[in-house]
């Protein structure tokens, strides 16, 4: 089966993301050309009805999920089995993709880009980030599509024992380490030429934020804290000014 159309369509898997079926409609869009060419009219309509249902996983996992679902649809399993398999994919691929990408490779690449941008040459940051991150991202989509179409119903077991699964245990801690490494470098870049009291002030604000995040993890996030802290500083500035 041809991989390119499936991978290209997978870029739009979240185009109609909604709170009822999440990216289910998008996944159906991704699978459509393969279902159309491999199934008869009645089976195609039944497969589309199943595909249009609820689905939620990391978007980069869409080719893997779509590939596996296409394979099992063409193997002629019973409706109950097909729906159960789709449900099982959601849990496995959602957590896997989120840990691998959102809390792994993405912050890792961003931290490396910040280190290079603030210490070597600013223009390197966006270029290195986009190239490095997307080499991995595009490979992940292509690899996922191949694995999904090849493994079908055994895709969960294959992923669980793959090298990429082993990456999970090291990529998150490495990202945390590099975020820590880049933080003083970025602060130094943004505050170059400033006084010790300025630096002390920034550290105090950072400390206050960290304490608040720890005390109220569900109610305070970086955005709310940033807006609130800047609003207070703005008000003080107006009063003093």
């Amino acid at each position: 089966m041809r991989r390119l159309p499936l991978v290209l369509r997978s870029f739009l898997v979240q185009a109609s993301f909604n709170y009822e079926r999440m990216s289910g409609v998008g996944l159906s869009f991704v699978m459509d050309p393969h279902l159309r060419s491999h199934l008869g009219p009645d089976n195609y309509r039944a497969a589309k009805a199943r595909a249009n249902g609820f689905f939620n996983a990391h978007p980069y996992m869409a080719p893997l999920a779509a590939g596996a679902l296409i394979k099992v649809e063409t193997e002629g399993h019973a409706d109950v089995e097909l729906r159960r398999f789709k449900k099982a994919l959601i849990g496995t691929l959602g957590l896997f993709g989120d840990r691998l990408v959102w809390t792994g490779v993405l912050p890792l690449c961003a931290a490396i880009a910040l280190i290079l941008g603030t210490n070597v040459m600013p223009v390197l940051a966006p270029v290195v980030f986009l190239v490095g991150y997307n080499l991995f991202h595009l490979w992940l989509r292509w690899w996922g599509c191949a694995v999904g179409l090849r493994e079908g119903i055994g895709v969960g077991g294959y992923v669980a024992h793959s090298d990429i699964k082993r990456l999970l245990s090291s990529v998150g801690p490495l990202a945390a380490l590099l975020i820590g490494f880049c933080a003083p470098l970025v602060a130094d870049f943004l505050m170059s030429g400033w006084t010790l009291s300025d630096a002390t002030g920034a550290v105090m604000v950072a400390f206050a934020g960290t304490v608040l995040f720890r005390l109220f993890p569900t109610r305070v996030n970086s955005l709310k804290f940033g807006i609130a802290a800047l609003a207070v500083a703005f008000a003080i500035g107006l009063t003093v000014g």
Binding site: Q14, E20, V123, A176, I179, L190, A202, G209, L230, F234
Partner: protein
């Protein structure tokens, strides 16, 4: 000349906003990219990179997972880069970060509104979807993508207006501008710490983050 640049900036913001969650998710939505490119479009690449680097630290804490509600730091970085362009960076950074955060928050609300509209539309064609209608899927996809593109561009226009207003009317004294920048950098550092915890869990994440900070401080002092 400036007006033409702003048109390019709004179009760029539309692509940046769509990239975060709709398509193609190649991460031009990261502030380090969105801010730098906006700076380039406005003839101040370094200013855009400066504010993009600060907002990137906030974006470490962003987890665009499933149905969770999150901010759009990409569109925020575009507005922030407009706010800082042509100004002395060390003084304008705090104000630009504030513009960026408010815009990111508004753009995040926009994402929620778009998804609610998508949900309504999906509910209206429930029968067609459940019977395997293919045409309705393509319609939903197209309308969803256009809706998100519009959302990003509308918020970008508001963000650019906010940035222009702040630049025109808010001229803080030097100490006030420096205070804002100090607070912005401090908040960015706290956000980076929180992002590190997301990556590796509370105990291990903090440990690794702490080790990294020590290494980064040593690097900064020694080199």
């Amino acid at each position: 000349m400036i007006e033409a640049s702003y048109i390019w900036v709004i179009l760029w913001a539309g692509l940046v906003g769509m990239d975060l969650a709709t398509a193609p998710q190649v991460m031009i939505a990261r502030p380090i990219v969105a801010g730098s490119v906006t700076g380039f479009l406005l003839g101040d690449f370094l200013g855009g990179f400066f504010v993009g680097a600060a907002l990137e630290m906030f974006a470490f804490d962003l987890l665009p997972v499933g149905a969770s509600r999150y901010s759009d730091f990409g569109v925020g970085a575009v507005a922030a880069a407009v706010a800082i362009a042509g100004s002395p960076t060390e003084f304008a950074l705090g104000i630009a970060v504030a513009v960026g955060l408010v815009t990111a928050w508004a753009a995040g609300i926009g994402i929620h509104i778009v998804r609610k509209a998508n949900t309504r539309e999906v509910e209206e064609v429930r029968l067609e979807l459940d019977s395997g209608d293919a045409a309705v899927v393509n319609d939903l996809q197209l309308r969803g993508a256009l809706r998100d593109l519009s959302r990003a561009m509308i918020v970008a226009v508001l963000g650019v207006l906010l940035a222009a207003t702040v630049k025109a009317y808010f001229r803080p004294s030097t100490p006030a501008a420096v205070t804002l920048t100090v607070v912005a950098v401090g908040a960015a550092l706290a956000a980076a710490g929180s992002g590190a915890v997301n990556c590796s869990g509370r105990a291990k994440g903090f440990r690794m983050f702490g080790l990294g900070v020590i290494g980064g401080l040593a690097w900064t002092v020694l080199l």
